[in-house]
Symmetry: C2
Subunit: 200 residues, 2 copies
Amino acid sequence: MTEGNGDPIARMTLELSRLPGIGQKSAQRLAYHIASLPLDQVKELAAALWQGRKALRFCARCGNYSQEEYCPVCADEERHNGQICVVRDARDVAAIERMRDYKGLYHVLGGTLSPMNGVGPEDIRIKELLQRLSAETVTEVILATNPDIEGEATAAYIARLIKPLGVKVSRISYGVPVGSDLEYADEVTLAKAMEGRREL
Amino acid sequence: MTEGNGDPIARMTLELSRLPGIGQKSAQRLAYHIASLPLDQVKELAAALWQGRKALRFCARCGNYSQEEYCPVCADEERHNGQICVVRDARDVAAIERMRDYKGLYHVLGGTLSPMNGVGPEDIRIKELLQRLSAETVTEVILATNPDIEGEATAAYIARLIKPLGVKVSRISYGVPVGSDLEYADEVTLAKAMEGRREL
């Protein structure tokens, strides 16, 4: 098949190559694979993407992806325990939910502060978090942004805003990942792990 | 978003993870990315995959992907120069077309002989190739299957069948790195391989 605008494989390749982590070669490989699939399976794939995207909106409370006005977490009355876990994006909610241990609510910022990239406090959902603190009964805000420079700066910024309101603010701890090998931990992480040690 | 059957992100992830080279983690990453895209762009992507797949069929002559009864190569009278280049799949046609040097027709086998995987001569389009040799004016069959064990075996098998018919049979030369995949060969290497082909 020669390439051109009207070429279905070229069009598939173009659209697939716009996805993150999929280069030109991978996109073409995927396109040829999709061309070889049964019609039914391609229909399922296309429908999952399009209908899935169409079905999603943002939870009116926490900003997580949701099919209803409130996401399943916010819709669950038992999760309204006074805790709000603040994360960068919906993927982080999924990661924390997989651990099946956290019983409170979330707040999705939709990004982290990044002056270099022109992302300021008004560009992420900090105002909405403050509004929740006055509207809901909140006993603790757990800052679970990433342990990198932007995540740290964002956590520090939010902590400074919230502490004067008399709400407990905490930050997830640094340390060596469970199941990992101490030998491969970087020095900064090891130092943080020593610093955060607890008496047994 | 918690996971479940009715969860659009879980459904996207499932469908994407069925594609080759996309594991569970990448699929989830892509699903969240797609969830964050503008509706229009997801519509474009889904339409490209579904409409693209629907528009494709096999060329009635060479077996390449085509939107019409005959693919653009077979539909071009100037390409009917007596040469037929035999390849494993449509991706290889695209690779050879990119070098813009080959002026003949193709024959897509749709696989290579592989006794280990139960693929015999009747499972790939060898019979159709023999039919073309009697129906068309063919002066040379260029065997351009991959330079690996299965590709070599397939080329040798076809050469044995065709030589008694008095048709010139050639094999692309080992300009292509042994053990590699034709699809990933650069244009210059491919051109050298075509140039250095030897009669079998």
